[in-house]
């Protein structure tokens, strides 16, 4: 094996390099809140709870809020008639590595008013918990499950918080974290052993129906708990 290939394999095993630029996750310069109607209104209503506001990539407005006020602030953004963010495009997370806090990123859009806003929440690695927004937007259900699965962030009051991409029995951790090596934590042998030990019969038992939350009755409520029309 050539030295170059050895280096490459060692690099893969060591995991992603921690970012060189220490300033990368630091916030950019504060932008003028009057540039975006929602930011000015947020500043007026929530004052110091709007930790920071910046403009990235020319026209994208980012607002940082504290983790314990997510439901309050996002709920207001959805309900206030002049904001009207009825469409949650995306929930994801960003790990900059090097022990820096994880960012939870919400992409909001108002279909009627045609404006968008990005809301970020920073969570320290010791306290990766945040309230679920599934009560506001049903689309958050799978998106939050994905963030939980791949980053290990726990969403409180989520109706069905379990792994979505990785198998239920996956024990190697949360793959999109920077401290997770590209090929997994276990050796290839251990991964194969575990894969062969899976009991496939389990997938076809009535217990399978218990994984999706509590059963619902036809004609009364749907999966989301709302009454059917």
């Amino acid at each position: 094996m050539s030295d170059k290939l050895k280096d490459a394999l060692a690099g893969l095993a060591a995991g992603p390099e921690s970012s060189d630029a220490a300033a990368a996750s630091e916030r950019g310069p504060a932008a003028d809140p009057n540039l975006h109607p929602s930011v000015a209104a947020l500043r007026e209503r929530f004052g110091s709870a709007i930790l920071h506001h910046e403009v990235v990539a020319g026209d994208e407005h980012v607002v940082y809020i504290p983790a314990d006020r997510v439901i309050e602030i996002l709920g207001w953004l959805k309900a206030a008639p002049e904001q009207d963010y009825d469409f949650l495009k995306d929930v994801t997370a960003v790990d900059y590595g090097g022990g820096r806090p994880l960012q939870v990123v919400y992409q909001l859009w108002s279909i009627r008013r045609r404006h968008g806003l990005r809301v970020k929440v920073e969570l320290p690695l010791q306290a990766l918990e945040i309230d679920s927004v599934t009560g506001l937007w049903a689309s958050a259900n799978w998106l939050e499950r994905e963030v939980y699965d791949l980053f290990g962030i726990v969403f409180r009051n989520h109706p069905d918080l379990r792994r979505i991409m990785m198998p239920d029995t996956y024990a190697e951790g949360h793959p999109l974290r920077k401290d997770f090596p590209l090929r997994g934590r276990f050796s290839r042998l251990e991964q194969t052993r575990r894969a062969l030990a899976v009991n496939l019969e389990r997938d076809y038992t009535p217990e399978e129906l218990q994984v999706g939350g509590t059963p619902v009755q036809i004609g009364t409520t749907g999966a989301s708990g709302e009454p059917r029309p």
Binding site: A24, A138, M165, Q217, I218, P229
Partner: protein, 424 residues
């Protein structure tokens, strides 16, 4: 905003016979009789089942033939493209993008390049913009044609599949002539395309544009007024506009519910506001409306294709930006600085400045969002794909509960999912 409401041409009653008079016996059970509710049954569909359009597994709890609960299980194709992207240079991610939605690979290639270009502040050339519009609209048709053929098979009509695949083969050939690959196109680079359009390509595209409407007409003759097609799709899988928005549906699935949200109109990119086209919206939000919306979208895409072909400007296809674009081959061979530049760009990769960007495009399945975060290095810190199918599929339990088992197949087909992008 120019919208076009697609409407049924026929009476909305699945229980009429061919002559329009009420059928003697109801074709469908009138409802669930409460006294027949008995023990529930557990049914497993997939992960290897042709009607799931990939490796999707659905666990259904049935009361008789009625679905009480539906639990989708995904992740069988998961290969963590987003993690792989963190180990690759900015241009090396392009081949990962077309392996997500292999039914519309060029839309994903373009969307990714557009997100990185936005983050780096690069404005691509006019010719590149128009070429990308052509490629994206071509792949919208590419994807809708596959949807049409496979959905018809799911609902019991085989012939349509042959009609649509004959046309898809022409798009495969267009892909191949331009990029060298039929599916894994990898056509974009940061700041431009892999190459300019080859000689004769636009004529080949013109042939396709001229030929497709005839096939669409033939397919509509086969399906639109077909009693079985109507019976299987009308009033099946209805979702209200409010629920559709709340569940994050986008694309034809949302527009079939009557919400005229199309990224090309609401947040235009690449001069889409200067193209003359309409956004089809449905009125009932059922599977049949989703069919009508997609049929009309193909015709509108043809209009955009024709306009883009007519306005295709000359000039370079790549930006003149030494940060991202390799110097010309002749320069590399004769000029020392160009050779060093070429070497540095290949060995070190493109360096994007610290920052982040979100770029939304209207994919064939719905709103495709690409989110890239850079810390100034040659590799991304985070590359996130907001896949439309992933979120459309999450609304499936809401849509199938209370329907018959056979309708699950029709509703799942009508959502137009692609598992490569759901599992990523």
């Amino acid at each position: 905003m120019a919208t076009k409401t697609v409407e049924y041409l026929i009476r909305r009653n699945p229980e009429t016979g061919m002559d329009g008079r009420p059928a003697a016996a109801p074709l469908f059970p009138a409802g669930i009789e409460p006294e027949l509710q008995g023990e529930h049954m557990l049914i497993n569909i997939g992960p290897q089942h042709p009607a799931t359009h990939g490796v999707l597994r659905l666990v259904l709890e049935l009361d008789g033939e009625t679905v009480v609960r539906c639990i989708p299980h995904i992740g069988y194709l998961h290969s963590s493209f987003e993690k792989l992207g963190e180990y690759r240079g900015w241009n090396q991610i392009v081949p990962l993008t077309d392996r997500m939605d292999y039914l519309a690979p060029l839309i994903y290639n373009c969307a990714y390049a557009m997100a990185v270009e936005k983050m780096m502040g690069i404005e691509v050339t006019e010719r590149c913009k128009v070429v990308r519009v052509i490629l994206m609209e071509l792949d919208r048709i590419f994807s809708h044609l596959l949807w049409l053929g496979t959905t018809a098979i799911d609902v019991g009509a085989f012939t349509v599949f042959l009609y649509t695949f004959q046309q898809r083969e022409k798009i495969y050939k267009l892909h191949e002539n331009y990029t060298g690959a039929r599916i894994t196109t990898s056509a974009t680079r940061i700041g431009g395309m892999l190459a300019d359009l080859p000689v004769g390509w636009t004529e080949q595209l013109q042939d396709f544009i001229d030929g497709l409407p005839r096939t669409l007409d033939e397919v509509e003759t086969l399906l639109t007024n077909n009693q079985i097609w109507i019976g299987r799709l009308q009033d099946v899988g209805v979702i209200s506009p409010e629920d559709a928005i709340n569940h994050g549906l986008t694309g034809p699935n949302l527009r079939a519910s009557g919400v005229a949200y199309d990224v090309r109109k609401d947040n235009p990119y690449y001069d889409y506001e200067t193209y003359d086209f309409e956004v089809p919206v449905g009125r009932h939000g059922d599977c049949y409306d989703r069919y009508l919306v997609r049929m009309e979208e193909m015709r509108q895409s043809l209009r955009i294709l024709q306009q883009a072909l007519d306005r295709l400007p000359g000039g370079p296809i790549n930006v003149d930006d030494p940060r991202v674009i390799l110097p010309g081959k002749a320069d590399v061979m004769t000029d020392m600085e160009s050779m060093i530049h070429h070497f540095k760009l290949v060995m070190d990769g493109i360096k994007a400045p610290p920052g982040e960007s979100w770029f939304s495009v209207e994919s064939s399945k719905g709103e495709l969002g690409m989110y890239v975060v850079s810390d100034g290095g040659p590799k991304p810190v985070r590359w996130r794909v907001r896949g439309p199918s992933f979120i459309n599929l999450s609304a499936l339990p809401k849509m199938v509960e209370g329907h018959l088992l056979a309708d699950v197949i029709a509703i799942n087909a009508s959502l137009d999912i692609v598992l490569g992008e759901i599992d990523r």
